[in-house]
């Protein structure tokens, strides 16, 4: 446990030593802020319209602001994740520091978990930037905070899963850029898999659709925790970390 924290602390430190962390946060604040503004403006406009026409309109902040913002954030996450994971192992392999880690009295899974944990914390820190927007809602209205919490849990689970895959991909190359691009491709693929279900209803399409990370995020954004989605994300996390462990091992047998 102590070793995991030592590795995680080192990784977090190096995120904040490079401009990456700040760049991602600024980028994310901008985009999330834009979505937030857009949804709120839309919501306010609908509200005014309904007042003027006299037709009733359900003034539900959760449904009209928080949910779309969370959904959008989950898509932006797909773009952030490769940048968080790309250097995790690739850089250690390129610079030779992997020799230090692997020959220290610390287990492979401690290294892997430490790195993944750091990536998850980094991701959470970026997401937290968007939380500021949400707090504004609480200042001026009374949205239900429970669905929002669940939405954030969903974001972290989805992030954790993709970060685990990114960690694995970073371990298969010594070139950060390659790792980043490959991870991005995988994230994109897991996103668009969902689309097949819209034009094909056969069993295979259901299976493919099931693999889509965004499908499993939907319920979270509505404030619903479904065990099946949690299990999906947890197994993806496990798969990613397991593959990382295997590739770290095979690196040693081969090179």
């Amino acid at each position: 446990m102590k070793n995991i924290l030592v590795i995680a602390a080192k990784e977090i430190n190096s995120y904040f030593r490079s401009p990456i962390a700040y760049g991602l946060m600024a980028f994310f604040a901008l985009i999330a802020g834009y979505f937030f503004w857009f949804s709120t403006a839309f919501f306010v406009q609908r509200g005014m319209e309904s007042q003027m026409t006299g037709r009733s309109f359900p003034m539900d902040v959760n449904e009209w602001v928080i949910r779309p913002v969370l959904s959008n954030i989950s898509v932006i996450g797909l773009f952030l994740i490769p940048m968080i994971t790309m250097r995790l192992f690739a850089e250690e392999k390129r610079s030779g520091t992997i020799e230090l880690l692997v020959t220290s009295p610390i287990r492979d899974w401690e290294i892997i978990l430490g790195k993944w944990l750091a990536a998850l914390l980094m991701y959470a820190a970026i997401l937290a930037v968007a939380l500021v927007n949400m707090l504004i809602l609480f200042a001026y209205g009374s949205p239900d905070w429970k669905p929002m919490l669940i939405g954030y849990l969903g974001l972290l689970l989805q992030g954790g899963a993709l970060l685990a895959l990114g960690t694995f991909i970073s371990n298969t190359t010594r070139n950060q850029i390659v790792a980043g691009v490959a991870t991005f491709a995988i994230c994109l693929l897991l996103w668009v898999l969902d689309w097949v279900t819209s034009f094909e209803t056969a069993a295979w399409a259901k299976v493919v659709g099931y693999m889509s990370v965004l499908t499993h995020f939907e319920p979270f954004s509505k404030g619903v925790i479904d065990t099946k989605d949690v299990v999906f994300y947890l197994s993806l996390i496990f798969l990613g970390l397991f593959l990382t462990a295997r590739s770290l091992e095979s690196l040693r047998w081969r090179s």
Binding site: K10, R17, S95, G96, T97, E99, T103, S104, P105, R252
Partner: protein, 322 residues
């Protein structure tokens, strides 16, 4: 302390280390010598549990590298060929991180960091970013990292590469200080380094051990017959070449006398001994008793360099394989 038996490491396409065996006793400094691509780094990586051997076994500090890697890792300090440094860290921050990886903590960690920073002369750059350090300083930080947890066994892959001459001497002194408590294997291309600080040399070429011996024995063994350069001068009047040559040939143990040059009244010869005979005292006596001056008398020493070249030439490696 270190026991390697029939160690083999195959890569996809080639065999980097081919059935090597050797032993290192506690407190020894052993030089690992060989041309580029001989398999030094590969062997060291196996000893440090970076990668497992394809065949054979290796024991470090009584633990097998495959069966109990954790125990081995706890007892080994390793300086890889390229020092494993994080450029974005400061030197002291880096050493603290490595210390924690090695299981140190609290006051002991601080004490050890202070100690190795002093020993490796990196105290004055403690608060500098590693990315801003010169190559020599990086090498020193790498060495500091290796000895940080005071390991029983030190494995140093080319510890003096990239250092300036003064630093090389200081590093060698440091390594010598460390021996005794620590068992050290170091690899190098620099032969005088081995002659100076190692008690034992292991010469490998093309993945095979071609010689293992103490530095002293190795030089003696290779020497066999001795070649001595002699310069003789007359005390009065010119010297007669043939008489001097005859006198030298009569000395016991001499097999051949070669006249090299004549300058004024001085004659130079190259005298070769029979196998295993020491002829210098006899030559000295013969010259002086004949009433001549002995200006110079020295062995044309066979350096480790020549031995190395002889042993590691491709033919020699082939012979060793058979």
């Amino acid at each position: 302390m270190i026991k390697v038996e029939h160690l083999t490491k195959r890569y996809a396409r080639n065999v980097a280390v081919n059935d090597i065996s050797f032993e290192v006793e506690k407190g020894q400094i052993v030089g690992f010598l060989g041309p580029n691509g001989a398999g030094k780094t590969t062997t060291m990586r196996i000893l440090t549990c970076f990668m497992p051997p394809s065949d054979g076994s290796a024991q470090v500090a009584g633990f097998d590298v495959i069966q109990s890697p954790m125990e081995v890792k706890r007892r080994v300090g390793y300086l890889p060929e390229t020092p494993p440094l994080y450029p974005e860290m400061e030197v002291s921050e880096y050493l603290l991180f490595v210390g924690k990886l090695k299981g140190l903590g609290g006051n002991e960690l601080k004490r050890r960091v202070d100690d190795v920073a002093g020993r490796c002369a990196v105290g004055d750059v403690r608060n500098k970013l590693i990315s801003k350090l010169s190559k020599g300083y990086r090498q020193r930080v790498g060495l500091a990292q290796a000895i940080l947890h005071n390991p029983e066994v030190l494995i140093l892959d080319e510890p003096t590469s990239g250092l300036d001459p003064k630093q090389i001497i200081e590093t060698r002194e440091l390594i010598q200080q460390l021996s005794g408590d620590h068992t050290i294997i170091l690899s190098t291309h620099i032969l005088p380094e081995v002659e100076q600080i190692c008690q034992k040399v292991i010469i490998i070429a093309q993945g095979k051990v071609v010689a293992t011996d103490s530095v002293h024995n190795l030089t003696n063994r290779m020497r066999g017959s001795e070649t001595v350069n002699v310069e003789v001068e007359s005390r009065n009047g010119p010297l007669e070449l043939t008489s001097v040559q005859q006198r030298l040939e009569q000395v016991a143990g001499v097999s051949r006398v070669l006249h090299k040059e004549t300058r004024d009244s001085r004659l130079t010869f190259e005298v070769e001994s029979l196998q295993g005979r020491v002829i210098r005292p006899e030559i000295a006596r013969a010259v002086v008793e004949s009433g001549w001056n002995l200006n110079e008398l020295h062995t044309a020493a066979i350096s480790l360099e020549e031995i190395f070249l002889q042993l590691t030439s491709v033919d020699a490696a082939k012979e060793a394989k058979q």
